[in-house]
Amino acid sequence: MILLRLFWIFLKIGIFTFGGGYSMIALIQNEVVEKQGWMTAQEFTDILAISQMTPGPVGINTATYAGYTAVVNAGLPAWQGVAGSLIASFAVILLPVIAMTLVYNYLSKHRDNPVINSMFRVLRITVVGLIAAAALLLLGEESFGVPGFNKQFVISVLLFVGAFYLSWRHKTSPIILILACGFVGWIAYSF
């Protein structure tokens, strides 16, 4: 039953993802964490970290991993989790691929249609807000610890500011940032 729900939800996520993997994060988070309650925000953040560090499209990686985690969290065996992850990644690409093939000819002929151009322009602007919302929703105790003057919160804020600055200004590669922050976490919390 959860496999069917998984298929339906990721079908929906796929067709409403405009502007790449980062806006898909907002949709997956909304469905999987908030609405369905299949995993905690913390688990979702860990999935995001691993999806960004492994090769491949972030959207596919996140869908695959989230599909597996949702099924296994529901208490089902691991092989069904594998089925769940395959279903999630298949569902997420199914409708976009069909849509893409259908409009391939049409849009390449009608690229200068002002109405369609205007729609895509507004969509691109809106997606910026979508991604901001994904980041805002992750700003919580799950990622930063309890606010206040304690060790975890101070270190988390410093890591956040540093990673934000390096990624924004210097376009430092995500994998280097994640590895570096993991190293800092290991040193800071273990000793």
């Binding site: 409403f16 993802t17 502007g19 790449g20 993997g21 980062y22 898909m24 908030e34 953040t45 995001l48 970290a49 691993i50 960004q52 492994t54 090769p55 491949g56 499209p57 959207g59 596919i60 695959t64 991993y65 597996y68 985690t69 989790g81 976009p96 691929v97 893409m100 093939t101 849009l107 390449s108 690229r111 002002p114 109405v115 151009n117 205007s118 895509f120 322009r121 507004v122 691109r124 602007i125 809106t126 997606v127 910026v128 807000g129 979508l130 991604i131 919302a133 980041a135 990622s143 956040f160 990673a163 990624s167 590669s173 940032l177 994640i178 922050c181 993991g182 976490g185 290991w186 919390y189």
Partner: protein, 213 residues
């Protein structure tokens, strides 16, 4: 690896004479599509947009399947359409080069390695999750992940041409989702409707989005 760039022309000529050769041509093409997209998927970390340079090198420079202008056109089309960017790109090129079977080959090649790797990680990470050291490492990583999602917001705002007159759109979208818990699906639908109405009313005021990248 040695590669004859005229092989398609040569094989295409032979194809007219020999039906058996047609099969050779087709399978070669599909194999090359699969291998090219396998490389693109397996060797890029950080998502679809990191793949663009590798894709360009593979498809335009090495295989010479497309001109650079065609590549740019497919690029903006893939960005405008819903779905995962890299998969959209694979659909476009697969469709163009090999029809439906081309689409299947390109997509399968693109997502094969990522899915296998993620599955291996997903299965085994559960056993390490409760390990103290792993927990400490992830306590350091979590704030960085939030920062990594927040940082592209400003870069994307520039390329989407967000200005003082329309910056209320992303702000309202973010607040709706963040504060009131509105589903992003409704926000996307509202934006589509708004864009269509705006285009109908204003006509060709909307600028051409050729350089959007």
């Amino acid at each position: 690896m040695y590669y004859d760039k005229n092989i398609f022309i040569k094989v295409q000529l032979k194809r007219k004479q020999n039906v058996n050769k047609r099969k050779t041509f087709a399978s070669l093409m599909y194999r090359q599509l699969f291998v090219s997209f396998w490389k693109i998927g397996a060797f890029t970390i950080g998502g679809g947009y990191v793949m663009i340079p590798l894709m360009e090198r593979e498809v335009v420079d090495r295989r010479k399947w497309l001109t650079r202008e065609e590549f740019m056109d497919y690029l903006s089309l893939s960005q405008a359409m819903p779905g995962v960017f890299a998969v959209n790109m694979a659909t476009c090129l697969g469709r163009r080069l090999g029809g439906f079977r081309g689409v299947v080959c390109a997509i399968a090649g693109n997502i094969l390695m990522p899915i296998v790797l993620i599955l291996l990680l997903a299965v085994f990470f559960r056993y390490f999750r409760d390990n103290e050291v792993v927990e400490h490492i992830f306590m350091g990583i979590r704030p960085a992940v939030v920062a990594l999602i927040a940082a592209p917001v400003f870069r994307l705002a520039q390329s989407a041409k967000v200005s003082w007159s329309n910056c209320w759109i992303p702000v309202v979208a973010a607040l709706l989702i963040w504060i009131w818990g509105v589903s992003p699906v409704w926000v996307i639908l509202a934006a589509m409707a708004g864009g269509l109405v705006y285009g109908k009313v204003k006509g060709d005021v909307a600028p051409k989005n050729k350089e959007a990248r």
